[in-house]
Subunit: 284 residues, 2 copies
């Protein structure tokens, strides 16, 4: 596995490979890899000739009071994992290499970026779409892989790629979970053992909503009410940021579940802000 | 010359050419071509294996009260000109092909886009950077050519390409002028014969400033004053939008000419809004 730290080299590598007719699969990450990331890498390995994984903790997608500095990092461990999986290139640039001089360009998907997580994390998704644009321009992949845990991010990136004619296939893959249902996340590291047990309540509440929908409950307010009731029983306390029942494409709120519907939530447990979601009401 | 109307075909063409090791030069235009455009095409023809010219009057860079609908168009004439110059591809998509569905993504260079023309044309440069991003993603050129008449546009596009790591060479080429100095522009068509004569005052005022600088006048206010005085003598009247003495990279106002300095102006003559600029105070 090649480890590349600068933009020019990764682009050169990519352009050479393309001239040889190879397809390039790209998995952008912030590192501290878990099974969720590895599942993306595995898919990329299956689908593409060349697999590039980036590790870059992107400062511009963190708010001033958020966890940029504390975000967990372990590049040595990540490197070993990726190397053993047959990744061709680990692209791990420094912040200085990525943001040079008086950086002042923003790529933004309006509307979609203001909802759900966007409402509590102002500017977050502009930070995401800007860095993903940059990484796409550096790596020039044919296909890029993202997890469905960050459902809103996936929807926004798909929209950006379509709107800006990026000519890249965006593949979304299922959330990987712990045995008790908790979505794998680098931020789970922030949880104490007790908080970790409590965190299972998030996915439990989503599965409860899924079961209620199957049993005919369609009213969003009722579903959210039941989820809140369940979540309130967990200790240490889960502090809900939002629970939303919405259209999986536009992310607009739905009053009732009709057709494929996204139920998404964000909540604080201790210092960790965690997210999860479920699709309900669809045909299969 | 191939005439291509849809995004997929132009990208396919481009990717095939690249796999054969060809370099692609790109000249994005809004059509109604004049010598300024043709000079860009000629340079592209000299520097690159394949030359792609786009003609697309981009609605999102016009304000609601601006001249989108009236903007001059003559695709037949343009087509003949380009074909006779050995252009490989004319890419001329419809507005529907370019802006599909609920388009909602913006690429924006903050700061640079708010100054000079950006102050009187709110959102104009965001419209420019968004469409140029799209066209770059469609055509995937190695080099793109822009005229220096639109100096601010050139600065902003260079900054965007750098900030977003687009991996495209941006080449700026000198303004092509009429005999009396008026910068060639599709919008000159709006001028009546009398207005056309008056329009010479714009470039005259810039050359006056250039000569004053050579003779040791460095104070921006003084220079702008002299330019205004000269412009005020022209009939039909020239209505100045702005005259700015500024840094050619940051576009920030300079109180005195020291080192390479941009003097830029915009003015209305009849219904035409015209722009022009000159670099002064540099070493050569």
């Amino acid at each position: 596995m090649k480890v590349i730290k600068n933009v020019r080299s990764v682009r050169d590598f990519s352009r050479k490979a393309k001239k040889l007719g190879k397809t390039i699969g790209f998995v952008p990450t912030m590192g501290y890899l878990h099974e969720g990331h590895l599942s993306l890498v595995r898919h990329a390995r299956k689908k593409c000739d060349i697999v590039v994984v980036s590790i870059f903790v992107n400062p511009i997608q963190f708010g001033p009071k958020e966890d940029f500095k504390k975000y967990p990092r372990d590049i040595k461990r990540d490197r070993k994992m990726l190397s053993s999986m047959g990744v061709d290139v680990l692209f791990a640039p420094t912040v200085k290499e990525v943001f040079k001089g008086d950086f002042s360009t923003t790529v933004e998907v309006k509307g979609l970026s203001d909802r759900l997580c966007g409402a509590s994390r102002l500017g977050h998704f502009a930070g995401v779409t800007t860095i993903v644009s940059k990484l796409f321009n550096m790596v020039e992949p044919d296909v890029a892989f993202f997890g469905r845990k960050d459902f809103q991010q996936l929807v926004i990136i798909k929209k950006m790629v379509e709107d800006l004619n990026m000519g890249i296939d965006i593949v979304g893959l299922p959330t990987v979970r712990e045995k008790d249902g908790l979505a794998k996340s680098s931020r789970n590291k922030y949880l104490s053992p007790a908080e970790r047990r409590s965190a299972a309540g998030l996915n439990k509440s989503l599965r409860l909503a899924g079961n209620l929908v199957k049993r005919g409950v369609k009213d969003s307010r009722k579903l959210i009410g039941e989820m809140k009731r369940l979540i309130s029983t967990y200790r240490p306390k889960i502090v809900i940021d939002y629970i939303a029942v919405c259209d999986p494409k536009t992310l607009e709120h739905k009053k009732t579940v009709a057709g494929s519907t996204l139920i998404a939530l964000a909540a604080y447990i201790g210092r960790a802000r965690l997210i999860d979601n479920i699709l309900v009401g669809g045909k299969k």
